[in-house]
C-alpha cells in the first residue's frame, strides 16, 4: 500500500446560495502520484481543489494532508500548511506590477526569507522552468506559456510537497499545453512532488496522470488508475470523457459493435487478422487509434462484427481469450 499524502473523506460543499458543489466525495491521493480530477464544467472540480488547501472551507467532511486534518488547524497552522502546497491557476494570477523574479520571490517574502536567499532560489527556479532570460520582464511582456512557467516557479519556491493545478493548461494552445505538461511531469519525477491536476480535457489526463477521479454534478463517479479507467471505463460518465475527443466518429448504430483495447504486450499476434481467418467472416473497422497513456501506447479499436448473432458472440469470446479488453458499445461516441 502506497503512502497517502492527501485524503479527502466524505467531503461536501454547499454554497451560501444553496448550490451543492460537492456531495460526499472521498479520494485518496498517493505520495508521488499525478492525480487528475476530471469533469465537465460545473462538476465541482475547482471547488474540490480549493478544498484541498482550504481556500474553500468544506461544509462537511475532512481533508487530511500528511496526517493533519485541516479542520483542526488554527488559522496560523493552516497558513504554514499552505506554504507547503503550491498552486497554479488557469489565469496564471501573477502580480502584474512585479517583474518575473519578484513574482517568484513573493511566496518566500511571505515566509520571511531574506531577500538575498530568495533571489538565489528564484534564479534556480527560473532555470528549472527555462526562463532565465526573462528575470526582469513584467508579466504583460510574457506569453501565456511563459506566464504559467513563472507561476510554476513561484509555486515551487517554498519547496512544496504538493502542487495543485487548477485548469493550468486550459488557456493555452496545444503545443504550449504539451510543454507545460512535460514540465509538470519533470517536476513530479525529479522532485517527487505530488501533483493534483484539475482539467476538463481527457488528453491532459492521458498525457501525465497516473490516477484519475471523475466528477459529475458534484459526485465522484469513478476513480482508479488512468490505465484501468481508460481500458475499462465502468460508468457512462467515464465513457463520455474518454470518447470526448473522438468527435470524428459518427453515430454507430450498427449492431454488434465492440470496443477493443490493446495493451502493449498484445501486439505480438495479429489478433484481428487471425480472427477473420478463423471465422471466415469480415469485420468492419470503424475506428482505430493509438493513445499515449502515461507514456504507454494503448491501442483502441472499434469493430463491427458479423451480423450473425452466433458468430459475433464467438468473435467476442475469441478476442477475450486473447486477453484483450472487449466491450460491446451502443451509439458509440455520440455528442
Amino acid at each position: 500500500m502506497m503512502e497517502s499524502i492527501i485524503q479527502v473523506k466524505n467531503l461536501s460543499k454547499t454554497f451560501e446560495n444553496g448550490v451543492i458543489a460537492l456531495e460526499n466525495v472521498s479520494i485518496d491521493i498517493h505520495k508521488g502520484s499525478v492525480f487528475g480530477i476530471i469533469g465537465m464544467s460545473g462538476a465541482g472540480k475547482s471547488t474540490l481543489v480549493r478544498c484541498l488547501n482550504y481556500l474553500e472551507k468544506p461544509t462537511s467532511g475532512n481533508v487530511i494532508i500528511k496526517g493533519n486534518d485541516l479542520e483542526e488547524l488554527s488559522s496560523y497552522e493552516l497558513k504554514i500548511v499552505r506554504t507547503k502546497i503550491g498552486m497554479i491557476f488557469q489565469s496564471f494570477n501573477l502580480l502584474m506590477q512585479r517583474n518575473v523574479i519578484d513574482n517568484i520571490c513573493f511566496p518566500m517574502e511571505i515566509l520571511g526569507i531574506s531577500k538575498k536567499d530568495a533571489r538565489k532560489r528564484a534564479k534556480e527556479l527560473l532555470d528549472i522552468v527555462d526562463l532565465s532570460d526573462k528575470e526582469k520582464a513584467y508579466p504583460v511582456q510574457l506569453s501565456g506559456g511563459q506566464k504559467q512557467r513563472v507561476a510554476i516557479a513561484r509555486a515551487l519556491a517554498n519547496n512544496p510537497e504538493i502542487l495543485l493545478c487548477d485548469e493550468a493548461t486550459s488557456a493555452l494552445d496545444p503545443n504550449t499545453t504539451k510543454s507545460i505538461l512535460e514540465l509538470l511531469k519533470e517536476i513530479n519525477q525529479k522532485y517527487q512532488i505530488t501533483i493534483v491536476i484539475i482539467t476538463h480535457e481527457m488528453a491532459v489526463i492521458q498525457e501525465i496522470c497516473t490516477d484519475v477521479a471523475i466528477l459529475e454534478n458534484g459526485k465522484l463517479v469513478e476513480q482508479g488508475s488512468v490505465t484501468q479507467i481508460f481500458t475499462a471505463p465502468k460508468t457512462e460518465e467515464a465513457k463520455k470523457l474518454i470518447f470526448q475527443e473522438d468527435t470524428k466518429v459518427l453515430r454507430m448504430q450498427g449492431e454488434h459493435c465492440v470496443r477493443v483495447v490493446f495493451s502493449e504486450n498484445s501486439a505480438f499476434e495479429p489478433v484481428i487478422g487471425n480472427m477473420i481467418l478463423q471465422f471466415k467472416t469480415p469485420v468492419n473497422i470503424l475506428l482505430a487509434d493509438t493513445k499515449n497513456i502515461n507514456g504507454v501506447a494503448v491501442g483502441e479499436m472499434i469493430l463491427q462484427l458479423s451480423e450473425k448473432e452466433e458468430v459475433a458472440k464467438q468473435m467476442i469470446e475469441y478476442l477475450k481469450a486473447r486477453k484483450l479488453h472487449v466491450e460491446e458499445v451502443y451509439n458509440y461516441g455520440v455528442h
Partner: protein, 222 residues
C-alpha cells in the same frame, strides 16, 4: 489700475494659502481615509476578511459625512474649528472642514481602487499562506497602485475646489480672493486671474498625477 503691488502680493499669498490648505488637508485626510478605505475593502462581503457588522458601521459613517453638502459642513463644524484652531476663518481653520469632508471621500476612492484588484491574484496569495496584512500591503496596495494614484489626483482636485468654496466664509486662499474682490467689490479682473490660476493648478496636479500613475504601471508593454 487694478493690479497694484498689493493685489499681486495678495494673489501670490492666496496661491500659497490654497496650496497649503489643499495639501495639508489631503495628507491628513489620507491618514484617516487610507485605513478606513482598506477596512471597507477587506470587510466587504467580497473582501478578504468579510465582516458585515464592521462594514455596515463604517459604510454608514462614511455615507453620513459624504452626504452633508460641503458648504453646510463648513458652517456646521465652526465650533469644532474654533476649538482646534482658535478661530473660524483663514486657511488653517479651513483645513478642519476640508479634512472632515475629504477623509470619507478618500476612503471611498481607496475602497474602489482596492476592489479592482483581480480576485485570482488575491487567491494565489492566499494559497501561498499570505495573511491579511501581507495581502493588503504586498498585493492590494501594489496591484492597485495606478488606480490609487489616479484616486489621489482626483482627491486633490476635489479638495482644491472645496478650499475655494470655503472663501464664502472667509476661508482664505484664492477662492476667498475671488469672492471678496470679484463678487463683493465688482472687480471681475481679479476674479478671472484667480480662476485662471486655479485652473492651471488643477491642470498641473492632474498632469503630474496621471504621468506618475502611467509611469508606475507595469501592465503596459514598454
Amino acid at each position: 489700475m487694478v493690479f497694484t503691488d498689493t493685489v499681486i502680493k495678495m494673489i501670490i499669498q492666496g496661491f500659497y494659502d490654497t496650496l497649503y490648505m489643499t495639501v495639508v488637508s489631503t495628507l491628513l485626510a489620507y491618514i484617516v481615509g487610507l485605513p478606513l478605505g482598506i477596512a471597507l475593502a477587506i470587510t466587504d462581503k467580497k473582501g478578504i476578511k468579510p465582516n458585515a457588522v464592521i462594514y455596515k458601521f463604517l459604510d454608514l459613517v462614511t455615507n453620513i459625512i459624504r452626504s452633508i453638502p460641503f458648504l453646510i459642513l463648513l458652517i456646521l463644524v465652526i465650533p469644532l474649528t474654533k476649538l482646534l484652531v482658535g478661530k473660524s476663518y483663514g486657511s488653517s481653520a479651513t483645513i478642519v472642514p476640508l479634512f472632515i469632508a475629504a477623509a470619507p471621500f478618500i476612503a471611498r476612492l481607496i475602497e474602489s481602487s482596492l476592489q479592482e484588484v483581480d480576485k485570482g491574484v488575491i487567491e494565489a496569495a492566499q494559497s501561498m499562506g499570505a495573511g491579511t496584512f501581507s495581502i493588503v500591503w504586498k498585493v492590494l496596495m501594489v496591484e492597485a497602485r495606478t488606480s490609487l494614484i489616479v484616486g489621489m489626483t482626483i482627491a486633490l482636485g476635489t479638495i482644491l475646489g472645496y478650499s475655494a468654496m470655503a472663501g464664502v466664509v472667509g476661508g482664505g486662499g484664492l477662492g476667498d480672493i475671488a469672492i471678496r474682490y470679484g463678487f463683493y467689490r465688482y472687480q471681475p479682473e481679479i476674479m478671472i486671474v484667480t480662476i485662471v490660476i486655479l485652473v492651471a493648478l488643477v491642470q498641473a496636479l492632474q498632469g503630474i498625477g496621471m504621468m506618475l500613475s502611467r509611469k508606475l504601471d507595469r501592465r503596459k508593454l514598454n
